[in-house]
């Protein structure tokens, strides 16, 4: 039997979305965003080590509309992957694996991600203004 003929699960056309699976997919998506963001971190460090011209180029890019959007996506992904990663570490100790706990933990992660991202950007903007 060719593997392509086998039915694939889940059937995404009729799949009922739920918090737990969405958060699981987002964890992976955030990890991919952070991997790309890590390239930005190295670029920033190498530019800072290279001198004013290189550094101003990075700073201008990060301060542009595109750069700020990328930074916002990076912050959101970081806090989400961090909070949900802690949720995963708790699961690794065999705690909180029942249905009710996975939902409570899931909503806690969503709330914490929003709050931490908001705090970081308020602090960042006030640091910029000062």
């Amino acid at each position: 039997m060719r593997s392509a003929d086998r039915p694939l699960s889940p059937h995404l056309q009729i799949y009922r979305w739920q918090l737990t699976s969405v958060l699981s997919i987002l964890h992976r998506a955030a990890g991919l965003v952070l991997s790309a963001g890590a390239i930005l971190l190295v670029w920033w460090l190498v530019a800072a080590a290279s001198g004013p011209d290189a550094y101003d180029g990075v700073a201008d890019f990060l301060g542009s509309r595109l750069g700020l959007s990328l930074l916002f996506g990076w912050t959101l992904s970081l806090f989400y992957h961090l909070c949900n990663g802690i949720r995963h570490l708790v699961w690794d100790t065999a705690h909180g694996l029942d249905l009710k706990s996975t939902y409570i933990g899931g909503w806690l992660v969503v709330g914490a991600t929003g709050v931490l991202t908001l705090i970081a950007w308020i602090a960042g903007i006030s640091s910029w203004a000062s």
Partner: protein, 126 residues
């Protein structure tokens, strides 16, 4: 039917995996404080010029924490990206090629970042 000893010494069809899983957890635990520290530190550097950034990076504690952050980040990223590739890419050669590229890229980026931090720490940046 397999004896308990047979099950214990057998490594299954994958032959390995425990070390991958374990290292992903160790780097994850390290990244909790390191990434929180990095975000709070970087917020204070918003809008700073190159000299301010260079002075800050070059101080012992930020330099050490940045090197640790780079190692943990790219190690964790290499392990995580490998899992993503293995989940979605099923052609053996493509999968192998992508895993190799990801490993080498993560290693190269970590080395570049660490070198940049160290050059600012010893004041050899221009």
């Amino acid at each position: 039917m397999r004896s308990p000893l047979g099950r214990a010494v057998g490594l299954g069809s994958a032959k390995e995996g425990v070390e991958h899983w374990w290292l992903q957890r160790i780097t994850a635990v390290a990244l909790v404080p390191l990434s929180l520290w990095f975000v709070t530190a970087i917020i204070r550097l918003v809008g700073a010029d190159v000299d301010t950034v260079g002075d800050w990076v070059g101080r012992p504690l930020p330099a050490i924490l940045l090197v640790l952050l780079l190692i943990a980040t790219f190690w964790h990223a290499a392990l995580g990206l490998q899992v993503v590739i293995e989940d979605y890419v099923h052609a053996e050669l493509t999968k192998l090629g992508l895993v190799i590229i990801v490993r080498l890229a993560c290693f190269a980026l970590a080395v570049a970042g660490i070198f940049a931090v160290l050059s600012m720490a010893v004041g050899m940046s221009s």
